[in-house]
């Protein structure tokens, strides 16, 4: 168990009569980029909410680096080294991009609660400034640090959210549809960025994404959910040729066609 960075077993979440996650078992190893895919409503975001501790599982266990995650309150998850982005944007809309990133560093300030965050941040920030600048610049956002986050285009907000997650210096990031709403070029940039995050910072990535070409291109391994159950796991090549996966996605196409 301890070799895996993140490991879930028997993970189950029921909402009333609906079983959103049903006995799921999977793991993520240090340094991997793992895709978590499945049709709409398969339970992917619910898995993220369970790992972030926003939801209490009905059954099952999750460990992170050997620590029982289910004993950790939501605001301490980041301290263990798990950061995340949201499917529907999780920025602080009225704060500037820079303040959003500063809040991302919140868990790194150890000062008294009334201490000046700006002052405390400054020492750290000097070291991080170049790095932050570079990250913003990678998405062409270098000049937008002072803009309120909600003024940015959707795709840029997604990028800022990822950068904010990285500000906490996590070991694992959970990305919930990071390229949804992005055009092809932005998607390309994001894909390269995610890879660089892994290569340069050694950050492990668990990626939920509907853009299959991106998933197939950057993931080392893929876990497939359908109706809350794990139906397949393997390399991108194995997943692409797995009949159960094809069927799950086809079923969805048929459903959509009927609507």
């Amino acid at each position: 168990m301890n070799e895996h960075l993140l490991a879930a077993s028997g993970l189950t979440k029921r909402f009333g009569g609906l079983t959103a996650v049903d006995g799921v078992e999977f793991h993520v190893d240090e340094g991997e980029i793992v895709g978590l895919i499945g049709p709409n409503g398969a339970g992917k975001t619910t898995v993220f909410n369970l790992i972030s501790r926003f939801l209490e599982p009905t059954a099952g266990a999750i460990t992170f680096d050997g620590v029982d995650l289910l004993r950790v309150p939501p605001h301490k998850v980041i301290g263990l080294g798990i950061a995340r982005t949201f499917q529907n944007l999780g920025l602080f809309p009225y704060m500037t991009v820079r303040d959003n990133l500063l809040v991302g560093r919140h868990n790194q300030f150890h000062g008294w609660i009334l201490s000046l965050a700006v002052g405390a941040g400054r020492r750290e920030e000097r070291a991080a400034a170049a790095e932050v600048g570079k990250m913003l610049a990678a998405f062409g956002l270098g000049a937008l640090g002072g803009a309120p986050a909600s003024m940015l285009p959707y795709g840029s907000q997604k990028a800022v959210e990822l950068i904010r997650a990285l500000m906490a210096k996590p070991r694992l990031v959970l990305l919930d549809e990071p390229v949804a709403g992005m055009n092809a070029t932005e998607t390309q940039t994001m894909g390269q960025f995610i890879r660089r995050v892994r290569e340069e910072r050694g950050v492990t990535v668990l990626l939920v994404e509907h853009d299959m070409s991106l998933v197939m291109e950057i993931c080392d391994r893929i876990v497939v959910l359908d109706f809350g159950r794990k139906i397949a796991e393997g390399t991108p090549h194995e997943i692409q040729t797995n009949p159960r996966v094809v069927e799950a996605y086809l079923g969805q196409e048929v459903d959509r066609a009927q609507v």
Binding site: L91, P93, Y94, V103, L114, A168
Partner: protein, 292 residues
């Protein structure tokens, strides 16, 4: 006449503004509208009176005592009471705050805190004359305190760790938690600061009105009105809304014929409804944006 009405209106409006600041701070981070804010402020003010009258504590220390009472009351209300009902819908908690207010009224009665004698002015002395405008010393104090409270709020929110965490919590609770912010503790801080601010408002209002069980209620209603006018989630809006409210109602009662003048409160609330029709988010309100 006009200048005088505006100045007195600003003084009353500052009180509404201070009261509204406390109310909105709590609302922003906990989504609870504290219907007991008036009673809680009244209670802290009674403690100042008790310290001053019964124990002979100097007035400045007694006022400090009210502030401390407000802050502690905030901690007790949040940690001791509301925390236990955290799974209740937030609208039910509104009613709980009303109940806590009633309980505080009962405690004040039971402790014999009600004192018919007027609450002392912290600043006494002859009024100042600027041109033909008369300015009571107490008004000067009110202006000074309103300015100081606004400044403290601004500095806390802009620069301190807890202030930035409060903003984050109010804008996106989940994301704030994810960033390592203990949103429960931030709620406690907001209650403490919010009721501390309420205590300040109480001590400033008390010398003007006779302090009794319900004397803060009308200030509380005006504070809610000020908050609505300002946009409800905006702290600067609360102050601006309070000042506007004070001036408008004073001008109304000053210029209207005696038969209509007492309807100033009715007029003000009618105006607020009009504002909401044309500017649903108030004057300085934050438009709702997705992501919550």
């Amino acid at each position: 006449m006009l200048a005088q009405l505006i100045v007195s209106g600003l003084a009353a409006g500052s009180l509404y503004g201070i009261m509204a600041l406390g109310l909105i701070l709590i609302y922003k981070t906990t989504h609870i509208l504290n219907f007991g804010q008036g009673d809680m402020a009244m209670f802290s003010t009674f403690i100042a009176l008790l310290l001053f009258r019964t124990y002979g504590v100097p007035l400045s220390a007694a006022l400090g005592g009210a502030l401390v009472t407000g802050i502690l009351l905030g901690v007790v209300v949040d940690r001791g009471l509301l925390r236990w009902a955290k799974n209740a819908p937030v609208t039910s908690l509104f009613i709980a705050t009303l109940g806590i207010g009633m309980i505080l009224q009962a405690i004040a009665l039971w402790m014999g805190l009600i004192d018919a004698r007027p609450f002392p002015y912290a600043l006494r002395g002859p009024p100042l004359f600027i041109g033909d405008v008369v300015l009571r010393q107490h008004d000067l104090l009110v202006f000074g305190v309103a300015l100081a409270v606004s400044l403290v709020f601004f500095l806390v929110f802009k620069f301190t760790k807890v202030g930035i965490a409060m903003r984050a919590t109010s804008q996106n609770r989940r994301a704030a938690q994810l960033m390592g912010i203990n949103v429960g503790r931030i709620g406690t801080w907001s209650w403490a600061l919010g009721l501390g601010t309420g205590a300040i408002a109480g001590c400033l209002v008390a010398p003007i009105v006779f302090l009794d069980l319900t004397s803060m209620v009308f200030v509380m209603i005006k504070a809610i009105a000020a908050a609505v006018l300002g946009g409800f989630t905006s702290l600067p809006g609360a102050v601006v809304g309070g000042l506007l409210l004070g001036v408008i109602e004073n001008l109304f009662s000053g210029y209207m014929p005696p038969a209509i003048a007492p309807l100033k409160t009715t007029f003000v609330f009618t105006l607020i409804i009009l504002v909401l029709v044309f500017r649903p988010h108030g004057l300085l309100g934050e438009r709702s944006v997705g992501g919550h």
